[in-house]
């Protein structure tokens, strides 16, 4: 057992980020039930690692563990399907007009579907930036992307999200991971 002081510290520092942990797991795994299990596992792992946490950004530290737990989960549950690399051809397509976007994205379900259609590497940066409000530095820590490429990864992720919203018929991204 961690000593009781550690337990109190854990509850004060880490537990408040349970929502962030679940939210990231839910968007990475796309399944509420899986996300609940993965988030629970990640919390338990963070509890075990907690004595090694020496301060700093506790949310980023926790989300790093959540993310790794989720990727391990995905690897285990979807054998033989590799992560799709970014489709450059898609990247070349012109971006949709703001008007088209406003109309297309005026719908929670459609947004959810579009976001879920992105490869996990794109989905996570969107979730961390737009839902979790993480800085580029935090995103770099959580996802292990070099800080210098966070901006371009976000750019590509947003582009693909916009395209998924305005072309819901396109399924290119669905065979990822």
């Amino acid at each position: 057992m961690l000593d009781s002081q550690d337990q109190v510290r854990f509850e004060a520092l880490v537990l408040p980020h349970l929502d962030a942990a679940y939210n990231l797991a839910r968007w990475l795994l796309r399944q509420g039930a899986d996300a609940e299990d993965a988030a629970q596992e990640a919390m338990l792992r963070s509890y075990r690692f907690f004595p090694g946490f020496h301060g700093g950004d506790v949310r980023a530290w926790l989300l790093q563990i959540v993310r790794n737990t989720c990727y391990t989960w995905m690897e285990k549950n979807r054998h033989g399907q590799d992560m799709t690399e970014f489709d450059e051809e898609l990247h070349e397509s012109p971006s949709p007009t703001p008007e088209a976007l406003a109309i297309a994205s005026d719908n929670r379900e459609r947004l959810t579907q579009a976001l879920e259609s992105l490869p996990p590497r794109f989905r996570e940066v969107i979730v961390l930036r737009e839902l979790e409000g993480c800085s580029y530095k935090e995103i770099a820590t959580i996802t292990s992307i070099p800080i210098g490429t966070v901006m371009s990864t976000l750019s590509r992720a947003r582009r693909q999200l916009q395209l998924a919203l305005t072309n819901p018929g396109r399924k290119e991204a669905n065979h990822e991971l």
């Binding site: 690692f49 990727y71 976007l101």
Partner: protein
């Protein structure tokens, strides 16, 4: 035609991540670039509709309850024990792992890399992966002491060619290889024996420059990490730190 900045700096500007000078510079550009102006509108529209859609998933009450239960009752040890299964061959290893975890539980990890959370998490993962591999049937996917059998086995399973060498003559016979997951990516894992102990060496490609080995111990296990020739190596074992360093030198030769 597309403006290059619409795919780069624009996002930093939109996310308030530019320093004041770059932001002012970009604003001047924005004033005369219809492409970037349009793209910025698109980003704003996307963000406001995402906000309106309230996509943030709310935590189920059941999860909160389970997590609290975990913290208050289940010690980390019980999980490791429950994983221990029937095959006798590994059961002593699992028991040793449980004992070590028990010892670890009351003990604060003192790493030389205080504050280097990334490194600690990586080390913890590598040690975790090594422990996981000691479960029955998880040690090796390809059992062979022949490097010419192990190396081709990785072809098509990982998108890089890990260096595979047998060091039997130097006291580290190759036992086999497997796939593992470290830091959310599939990595090649080589298993070496050292007397009665086992060493897992995890290998994956990196774009970062070569680095000197960094080592430490965690949960009673030794770990060592380094980068060489576009590959990142991370090894974990219950052998002595000096043994691990010796293997590290063999692997970098």
């Amino acid at each position: 035609m597309s403006c290059e900045r619409a795919d780069t700096v624009l996002h930093g500007y939109f996310d308030n991540e530019l320093d004041a000078l770059s932001a002012a510079d970009f604003e001047r550009h924005l004033a005369e670039c219809p492409e970037c102006t349009r793209a910025l509108e698109g980003l704003k529209a996307l963000r406001s509709s995402m906000n309106a859609a309230q996509l943030y998933a709310s935590t189920p009450a059941s999860l909160r309850k389970k997590v609290l239960g975990d913290i208050h009752s289940a010690s980390p040890i019980s999980r490791v024990r429950s994983r221990t299964s029937v095959q006798k061959r590994w059961s002593w290893l699992a028991l040793a792992a449980a004992l070590i975890l028990m010892a670890y539980a009351g003990w604060r990890v003192s790493s030389v890399y205080r504050g280097a959370n990334h490194e600690e998490v990586l080390a913890a993962e590598v040690v975790d992966a090594h422990l996981r591999s000691l479960q029955p049937g998880h040690l090796t996917d390809v059992v062979s002491t022949d490097q010419h059998t192990v190396k081709p086995w990785f072809d098509g399973k990982v998108d890089f060619a890990p260096p595979v060498h047998d060091f039997a003559e130097k006291g580290f016979p190759l036992e086999g290889g497997r796939l593992d997951v470290v830091h959310g990516r599939t990595v090649a894992a080589l298993v070496y024996a050292r007397r009665k102990h086992l060493v897992s060496v995890f290998i994956w490609p990196t774009t970062e420059a070569d680095s000197f080995p960094r080592a430490g111990s965690l949960q009673g296990y030794q770990w060592i990490s380094w980068r060489k020739g576009g590959m990142e190596f991370s090894a974990a074992s219950d052998v002595a730190a000096s043994d691990l360093e010796q293997l590290q030198r063999l692997l970098t030769q």
